[in-house]
């Protein structure tokens, strides 16, 4: 019940007029489930909107790769903030705010807002609190207000990840407004924030029709570089991919965010439509649980890695728009080495490996997301080829809740995973995916040497030193094969020809401020 139902704002601003032609329309697959970033479920549409309507203190820069504009995760710069810098030990980070930045309520953004927002994040024990742990922030009092425009973050240890982590966490609420709606039972005004869009970001939510459409208007008071270029953007909910396509073709929407790979490939030569394509660090893989038979046998894992039809997947599922991956470390991540994954589609070798393992025929379930057409296709292709090698796979699509539960129990022998690391760094990758107890380590992979390297990397700030460590990591992973890495699909997006300025987000969350419409 966003917007109008709450009785609070938003006033249809006069600027929003401009008529049909002026506004840019984006088709999205669903409506935001909640406006409260601290408590929200994992909802891509919502996270994308937050990037554009919350004031983030720092954000990624933009770089040009082969003609495509992409977000540069290695250059992070202050946006709403004046500056964000560490002390000499890399332990205490100081955030300086600009003066005169205002929320929609008219309240000025001050250090108190930052402090309140961080206190709230720690109290929520959810998203932000989770990632802050990686950089040694676990208590609310590690965040200190120095003066009205200065806040200090006292990390427990220095970390190479601070920029990255803070880039995704440093968003600020209008605390003065929030306190008006806080109650004893609800000190963090959860109820109010769930229903009412935040303010102060690049865009303001000028209208929200529950379930149907959200209208964004540029925040004219933004003080920094790169303010929003379009005055109005509309996000329209179109659940079915097929209808998104029809509407794009008809010109009723300018950008379609939820279309299938196949449709996008089709639209490459459609009239009035262009397809933006950019390399991404999105990894598609099959994680094998090394703790579960039969994948506790490295030979079996290698056999499966040889039974995956990599090229067929790239051409059939992604229409060729994907890069083959040669390491578990993503392409474009500093330290990537071709030697990290010495396996290719080779059924004879797969059979030979199985024979070596003494298990000429094995069976297992292959788990994937139920509503994910892409994964479904991959699973079908893998099943078909693996069967030829003597590996019988039972396809098990799981709904989000069951998948979440089974992942938490780490009880899935074989599963398809897809995703990109929020931080483009091997240390972060190890911490999340390849160390003991790591959350994304669905393979249950443990290797003592990697544990040691990970430990070491916390304090290794020297770039060359780190690269050396990463090379070793890839050697180990190549031998152990906890994953069969399938490919890195490119990011593709069909838009109307009039649309320009798309910047490919490496975190998957579109920055709408760069968009223009001819």
């Amino acid at each position: 019940a966003a917007g109008t139902k709450g009785g609070e704002q938003p006033q249809p601003s006069g600027a929003a007029s401009g008529g049909e032609g002026g506004a840019l329309r984006i088709a999205v697959g669903g409506y935001v489930s909640s406006w409260d970033q601290d408590f929200v479920g994992f909802d891509l549409t919502a996270l994308m909107l937050f990037k554009n309507v919350f004031p983030y203190m720092i954000d990624y820069g933009v770089k040009d790769v082969g003609g495509a504009q992409i977000l540069d995760t290695e250059s992070i710069a202050p946006t709403f903030a004046e500056s964000f810098e560490p002390d000499a030990d890399n332990k205490v980070w100081t955030l300086k705010l600009r003066k005169g930045v205002k929320f929609a309520s008219g309240n000025e953004m001050t250090a108190a807002d930052v402090k309140w927002s961080k206190d709230r994040a720690f109290a929520a024990k959810a998203n932000v609190a989770g990632v802050y742990r990686l950089i040694g922030l676990t208590e609310a009092d590690q965040v200190k207000v120095v003066d009205d425009y200065t806040v200090e973050f006292h990390q427990a240890f220095p970390s190479a990840l601070t920029w990255q982590i803070q880039a995704i966490s440093l968003y600020v609420f209008d605390s003065a407004e929030a306190k008006k709606h806080a109650t004893d039972a609800d000190p963090w005004a959860k109820e109010w924030f769930a229903k009412n869009p935040p303010t102060g970001g690049y865009f303001e939510v000028s209208k929200a029709v529950q379930g149907q459409e959200i209208e964004l208007s540029a925040n004219t008071g933004y003080p920094g570089q790169d303010p929003a270029r379009l005055s109005t953007i509309r996000l329209t909910v179109v659940s079915a991919a097929a209808t998104q396509r029809l509407q794009l073709e008809a010109g009723d929407v300018d950008i379609a965010l939820g279309m299938s790979r196949r449709d996008v490939a089709d639209l490459k030569d459609a009239q009035g439509i262009k397809v933006i394509s950019a390399p991404s660090n999105n990894q598609v893989a099959i994680q094998m649980s090394v703790a579960t038979a039969p994948f506790d046998d490295v030979k079996v894992r290698q056999a499966l890695a040889c039974a995956v039809p990599y090229e067929q997947i790239i051409s059939n599922v992604y229409g060729g728009d994907a890069r083959p991956a040669k390491s578990l470390v993503p392409l474009d991540m500093p330290g990537y080495a071709e030697t990290g994954y010495p396996y290719a589609y080779d059924l004879d070798r797969a059979k030979a490996l199985l024979a070596e393992a003494g298990k000429p025929s094995i069976s297992s379930e292959l788990v994937f997301e139920a509503d994910n057409a892409e994964q479904q296709q991959i699973a079908v292709l893998v099943q078909s080829e693996a069967r030829k090698a003597g590996i019988e796979l039972k396809l098990v699509p799981l709904d989000p809740a069951t998948l979440g539960e089974r992942r938490e129990k780490k009880s899935i022998p074989l599963q398809l995973t897809a995703g990109q690391l929020w931080v483009n760094d091997v240390e972060y990758m190890l911490g999340t995916s390849f160390t003991k107890g790591a959350n994304l380590n669905y393979s249950n992979y443990v290797n003592d040497e990697i544990e040691k390297i990970f430990e070491q990397s916390h304090t290794t700030v020297e770039e060359a030193e780190r690269l050396k460590l990463w090379a070793r990591v890839q050697e180990i992973l190549a031998a152990d094969v906890p994953w069969a890495i399938i490919c890195q699909p490119n990011f593709t997006l069909p838009v109307r020809e009039e649309v320009a300025g798309w910047v490919q987000p490496m975190d998957g969350l579109a920055r709408l401020r760069y968009l223009t419409k001819a």
Partner: protein, 288 residues
Amino acid sequence: MADLTTAGEAGPPRAAAADRGFATTLIRTGSVILGLVVLAVLIGPLLVRWGPEEIDAAASLAPPGGAHPLGTDVNGMDILSRVLHAGRLDLGVAVASVALAVVLGTLLGIVAGYRGGLVDDVLMRILDVFQAFPAFILALAVAALLGGGVPELILVIALVNAPAYARLVRAEVRTVRELPFVEASRTSGSSGLGTLWRHVLPNSLTPVRVIAPLNCGWAMLTLAGLSFLGLGVTVPTAEWGAMISLGSADVVAGRWWTSVPPGLLLLVSVLGFSLLGEGLQERAGVTR
């Protein structure tokens, strides 16, 4: 859809002759359609070169012609083969689930209708509870508890249908049990079960017999709907609804062949069942 209340409506004598003629036409047409479909799905697969889950790596979304008379789907599987194999599954699930629903519903309906009183009230309330659950919730529950497979789907569709049959049979039993021949049987000293089995049951099943074919068509549509929601058969099992669902996006791209063949076969089969059911209803109404 599960419309079970119109069973056995009497047609008037005025239109009787003409209607009986039309009823026969309906029954014949329905039977011929179903016969052809059954024949096709039984014999057809033997004549097709590709297996239903066999992937032609070279031909994803190939248009009809050449090695694939009806083209291939996005996975490179042969549409013709899949459509025919799917028919076996769909018809099988439809018939099996309706049969199961009939058995379950009849049992419940008989007990409730014949015993009456508290037993009736309690059973009916339980059925009410059951009917309050939408099909997809039941489907998900059963799939999650028992695992998602064809037997589970049959169970789900049967469970969704059974209450309607139970009501139908119950209503009929309540009428029949008051008829003189039932009392006659009881005065003869027959046991309750004997009377039930020999007199009440055979005379209470006419509406069920008439409705069942109509319901088979509806069961197929339900299966298709569940597949569309991703609650039906798992990939890559060939099933019409799942094929339509997978291919529905292709239609807008002009690749009609992925979803039109299963769609047409589904339509034709459901229509076959409907015509048959309609004809039977008509006839039952007239001859009653």
